[in-house]
Symmetry: C2
């Protein structure tokens, strides 16, 4: 399929101050769109000026949330070139989401081409300031104008781009986490292993309550026994306990993060043993009490590594590493961001140049 | 708040054949809209010609499914008047959904006024043929153009109307149900007790698999022990076992249907004992084997009562009442549809006239 390109005639003003980009505040001049119609498959791929969608009031996405997305970044390296990080993994995961949500799969190779072409068109929007990047949001939503509950026959795949600021403009700093006991994000048999919009709607309330209590993120426990650690906010989570690096196994209710995957491979390449297993909150409490909860961090595209400085579980407040960033956490942050922004040689073949 | 009304200048052709309306195929000439903006609250209520929404590509509803809806009907009675069924219950439930999904609550009284006004404007769209009705779909979705995960500050409340056909044009007939063991619809701690769009996206896959196996609907089991009966398709479910009418208790993962509530009250008024309790699939199997699984039916606004003629659980096929509609099921169907279409005197005060 050929991607047609229609350039804007009214380019927007780019944000002047790259230290104030924030997250998702600005969108670039163009977007990629293609359509699915039953019988035709995915067709009419095009890059067009960024602008609103017209949706019938009965459009399925507004009623039944048949929608999925991906999140990845383009990074500006020191020599001015632009690179992606493991885009094949994001597109493979997108198809996992499609399958679970009854959305027709996309051609992964083609989707990567679409991402590259769009980033190329809007390359001047990729910021250069340390820690900044261009957030890439591919997504699919159902447009059938029919309020019967059914898998859609008409869908839109779109990609939008947003220049985003450094996650830690004041330097990487540990966050305080609230262990959620009332609300559940996802359960085995549901959609927790996908990037379905549904999971994020369901998670809002827990995040809101954590925020009300002065905590930045929620530590989600499993929906069955309500005791196994699953994710932290919209990130995967790792702990270093008595020398062992542990992250919850991907049992079906947990998203398989690309950052998680990369962190595991990175640790293994450096000789660390990483256990992907079930990890209960009680085990964490015991480790804390025994002085063996050494480090804790979240992983995700937005923050890369988010050190955890404190966990609150009921009335128990558990500082981790005196609220300071741990040694392994720091090493991982430096190494992975180093690879992503091209400051460190990529020995894994994870980065993909644009152009 | 005053509802402004802008009438269409190009009314649509109404569907000529009321025996072929189907569900959600046609929409009326007008829709109701109001907006929420942080600081202003819900404002600018208006009835306008039915037409597309313009949504920013970053609009939250397309990414994080912050959206909820309601479903109810307007019925044409023999004397030509139009009535609603317990609209206060739908609007109360809508606010339950709002609360769980971090959506600012609506004024229930005002929302009922909006529904009445809209139905009044489009009253010629309420069909008259036996069993037909005007389906009413109030819904709310988040429009913030910001791809950070957060409770929206900008939302749209809309109401659209769709003339719908008789659910059983060939007379009420039992359906075959597939007991779902792989996929889970909702779990306690999640959003199953609300009409969040999320729940419907999550349920599509199970419904698809049931359909592939030749079954009309899915019987959902609970997400924790995977053995307690919860709902059937998008309906609540009732069983008559050895003379006892049983329906799953509203434990947090089950939607509290308005039809369910009404059926319970109806049965009680006729001297039946109804148990709202946990009901395991094993208990159903045992009852079946002992010849005590007497009747089974789903309840919901769309079908009112949907008799269940067969349950398939793994390899076990369990016909209910020889695949025929049971006596209590039939009585409930006749009574409730009788009240809704004004053929039977409403002694409960459930119906609300338009005008
Ligand atoms: C729920 C959830 N878990 C984990 C992650 C981390 O995934 P990734 O490393 O691919 O960004 C994300 C996305 O950022 C997420 O939304
Ligand atoms: C999941 C689900 N359960 C049950 C019902 C029945 O609710 P009601 O009787 O209010 O239509 C519905 C809606 O029709 C539903 O979507």
């Amino acid at each position: 399929m050929e991607i047609s390109i229609t350039k804007t005639t009214t380019p927007k003003q780019k944000p002047a101050d790259e230290s104030k980009l924030g997250f998702g505040q600005y969108y670039t001049d163009h977007m990629f769109i293609m359509n699915y119609d039953e019988g035709e498959g995915w067709h009419n791929p095009r890059i067009v000026p960024y602008g609103p969608f017209e949706l019938d009031p009965a459009a399925m996405v507004l009623h039944y949330a048949q929608e999925i997305f991906e999140g990845m970044k383009a990074y500006r390296t020191a020599d001015g070139s632009i690179q992606l990080f493991r885009p094949d993994k994001n597109m493979a995961r997108m198809n996992v989401s499609c399958d679970r949500l009854c959305i027709p799969k996309i051609d992964e190779e083609f989707a990567i081409k679409a991402i590259k072409t769009l980033v190329e068109v809007d390359k001047d929007w990729v910021p250069s300031l340390d820690g900044t990047s261009l957030y890439i949001r591919p997504y699919i939503f159902a447009t059938d104008a029919q309020v019967g509950v059914h898998p859609a026959k008409h869908l839109t795949f779109a990609i939008i781009l947003s220049p985003v600021g450094a996650y830690y403009p004041q330097g990487i700093a540990p966050v305080k986490i609230f262990v959620e006991q009332k609300y559940v994000r996802a359960v085995i048999g549901g959609t927790g292993f996908t990037k379905a919009g549904a999971n994020y709607a369901i998670s809002l309330k827990g995040q809101e309550e954590a925020a009300e209590q002065g905590y930045v993120q929620t530590l989600w426990l499993d929906g069955v026994e309500r005791k196994y650690v699953e994710e932290v906010g919209s990130m995967n989570v790792f702990f270093k306990i008595d020398g062992e690096v542990v992250t919850p196994a991907l049992v079906g209710s947990i998203l398989g993060g690309i950052t998680r995957m990369s962190i595991i491979e990175l640790l293994q390449s450096k000789g660390y043993k990483v256990s992907e297993r079930r990890l209960s909150i009680d085990e964490l409490v015991e480790a804390f009490k025994a002085g063996k909860l050494e480090e804790a961090w979240g992983t995700g595209t937005a923050a890369v590594i988010s050190p955890i400085g404190e966990l609150k579980y009921g009335d128990l407040v558990m500082p981790v590493n005196n609220g300071e960033i741990g040694e392994v956490t720091h090493m991982l942050y430096d190494t992975l961001t180093g690879i992503q922004w091209g400051k460190i040689k990529d020995e894994f073949g994870w980065t993909v140049k644009i152009d």
